[in-house]
Amino acid sequence: MGKCSTPKTRLNSPMQHKAAAVEPNGRDTMNFSPIEPGDSMAGLPERPAGKFVYHGGSRPLEGYTIKRAIGQGGFGEIYYATSDAGKEVALKLIRRNLDVELRGIRHCLNLKHPNLLALYDIRQDNEGDTWVVMEYASGGCLQDAVADNPRGLPVDKALAWFHGIAAGVAYLHDRGIVHRDLKPGNVFSDEGFVKVGDYGLSKFISCSRRSGQTESVGTVHYMAPEVANGRYGKEIDIYAMGVMLYEILTGRVPFDGESVGEVLMKHLTATADLSALAEPYRGVVGRALEKDPRKRFQSIAEMAAALPSATQGAAGAGMPPGKFTAASAAAIGGMPPPGQEKEVVEARVVDEEPILRMVQDSFEKLRTAWDEANLTTPVKVALLVLGLFVLLAGSGTLIPLAVMLLVVYGGYRVVRMLVLSGQSPDGTATRPTVVQPPPVAQKAAAPPRSSPPRSPPGHRGVDRAQARPGHGQRHPRYRHHYHPHEEAAMALVLKPRRERFAELVGSLLIGSLSALVMCVVVVLLISYHGAVPRPEQCAWLALMSIAGTWAVLIPSKFWEGTLGEAALRRFVMMLVGLGLGAVAFGVASALMVDLPYPRDFPEPSNYQLPDGFYLQGRPLAMAYMACFGTLFLLMRWWRQADPLRVSRLSIWPLVVSTAMAGVVAAAWHFPQPWLPMVAVCVAVSVQLASPWVHPSKRARPRKSRPRKSQPRKA
């Protein structure tokens, strides 16, 4: 091997690991640096660049030199390294804060099977960290292969993977070892052989603090229901293989959710939707996914026998055709090699309605431009104020126009929904059977079929571009795999209650302050535009802005980190809105506020005001409640408080809030422009007050704190 660059060793203070104080707003303040202070002429970097502790050239273990990082594993990072002689290995770092016991792994050290990733050794470095030295698999992992085939792999490749995994796991079971952590991220391809890795490691790391701690979301998709009860045997591996088989064939997992708890619940109670699979796969997956372990296949061999054997030109089971490397698989874009037809694949119907999508896309572009314009927050606020002014100036004509457009669009949407009434609950059109087992003879004879629904390479590039951070939420099937914020979201969900409460209190205070400031701004705008509001009106505005901000911040705090079910949240928010409306009425009455209709809005006498709502042209409690309730129902306010939103202060929510409030108020004949004023104050305050995790901090791993070990996405 050639000479390496001067090895840069890590700052060797073990205390660095423990210095992981987390600020109340979720930001990780740890600032270890893998670079020696003397190297940096400009002083220590403000934050560590890159995600990995070690870099090429380091030698944490005697006899091995790290070349590069491979990725983040379940318990720590994995590196590609070579021994001094040139033998390539994978080094897995087990973080020292986890309870580490050597008992379980010793059994696994000497297992040998062509479909198992060999474990060479376990070593400790000078820092006290434990490293597992294991075989390096140069092909990619199954997770990458699935990601490159979002609609599922071709059947022969899928079977090749499956039978390889089955052979390895059968060997483990024969030796009395349950893998416990089977998932596509732990299955690799190496020169055409399937290698199952990470066996024995989940027992190795005895999470004695496991009670109350949950596995990271990545693992839980493959977890059998009985694991939650703590009593399980090798059937859990069969369950996991069922989940993996489903995922290999369809590109998605059978049970998915926005939070660990949700996925677990589905494992425990929901039945998987197997309609996308044809026989015999449907039967096999169905039996493997039985909730009762006694009803599943009792052995891997039984499960494998129920499937066709791997139909593959290359020798034997366990040989996926073509080489999957991280580079080549991604580069080729998942196109199967020539001579290999893709099986029946139907395009997925776009779940969103095209006009809405177009509008959203253009606003998305505007929003991205705004976010990437590198403006500081004060400049943004100034621009927003200006924009507000412009909007208010033109609101006389804009609002009726907007109402009309919305009504027309609403009608169109209803008609469309009726027409497409064959939809399944998740919004996709009925899918024709995705996978059909090919009779062997037919496959050999049939010429490659050009399947137009298969997305052409150019489009695939767009798909991947769309799956980048910020767009991740628009592609549900990528969510559990490549949600770039998954770790950050997990951290939010697992935040201790006290911290969450403290954050909330802080947010409420900041929110109140900014609400007041926004009120002043808005009042100034209004004054310029029309009559100066009277003091009691300003007071009403201020109080309602504060109340509105609180009304959004509090539920959002509990919904942090999870996406939840929109309909339920809207309902809750609507109730909150109704309450807010009642408060508004109360405040208005108490202060004896008169909310008049401004001059340039149409006079109330032009409209037939509903009797229960209005008395002598002044709104009653019902009107208040109706307005606030509708406003809170129609908008997803909690998204503005999401710590993982794209940017701290974003223009799109403000525009929408104001416009929506205007429309709602017009619909309920509420005096303008009071509702939009409240709405814009609330929107700005909520965004300014909510914690926000900077994107660069979202992908970084959080070091475990001394008292709690944080689960990690595997």
């Binding site: 390496c4 660059s5 890159g50 491979i70 140069s138 580079a327």
Partner: protein
């Protein structure tokens, strides 16, 4: 070991892969026995010097020393390479030639068979002026989770790294661009890589 005439180096990109980078206009492929004359050492059933790939202006040529097949047909003396060309050296060593970026002369050689280079690399980069790393398909190195492109380029025999924003080379902060040596480490927002001299 005899000094090599070409300045090849390894590019290790964290969480992506390792790449053998050959900046020269002509590279020799062959067995790893003669490291001084072979730029792309391949552990395969081929001869010491089996073929040469030459960058000729904007195009690439493959010159067969031993038996080489290009897209199924034997190459007499010279063959022209295009994006997607399939090269077979000897009996079983199958390579794919790629030029993913329309504006760059840099090409990528990947293995279609299970053979490997020595030292193992995920692909060979025949670097012209610049090498683009990023999340898009047109990048020479596709880095799935990256949010931006990082470009390594040559100017006057010196290597540079260019990307948006701030990053560090060997601990020194740079913005938008900075010089590299053949043993440098680059760390930026969401990416890290290092070079290794061979």
């Amino acid at each position: 070991m005899n000094p090599r005439q070409n300045d090849n180096f390894m590019l290790w990109v964290d969480a992506v892969g390792g790449f053998l980078v050959c900046p020269a206009d002509e590279v020799t492929l062959g067995q790893p026995i003669r490291c001084d004359i072979v730029d792309v050492p391949i552990l395969g059933d081929i001869s010491n010097r089996h073929a040469r790939i030459q960058r000729d202006g904007e195009g690439y040529l493959i010159k067969a020393i031993r038996d080489v097949r290009l897209d199924g047909r034997p190459v007499g003396r010279v063959g022209r390479l295009a994006d997607g060309s399939r090269i077979v050296l000897g009996e079983g060593v199958r390579l794919v030639f790629r030029r993913p970026h329309a504006l760059s002369g840099t090409a990528r050689l990947e293995f279609d068979s299970h053979h490997r280079t020595q030292p193992t690399a995920d692909a060979v980069l025949l670097m012209a002026d610049a090498c683009v790393l990023g999340p898009n398909r047109h990048c020479h190195v596709v880095c799935r989770d990256w949010t931006r492109e990082v470009i390594l380029y040559r100017h006057d025999e010196q290597l540079y790294c260019r990307t948006e924003g701030k990053f560090q080379i060997d601990g020194v902060r740079h913005e938008n661009r900075g010089p590299l040596s053949r043993g440098s480490r680059v760390e930026g927002d969401g990416f890290s890589l290092n070079l290794e001299e061979l």
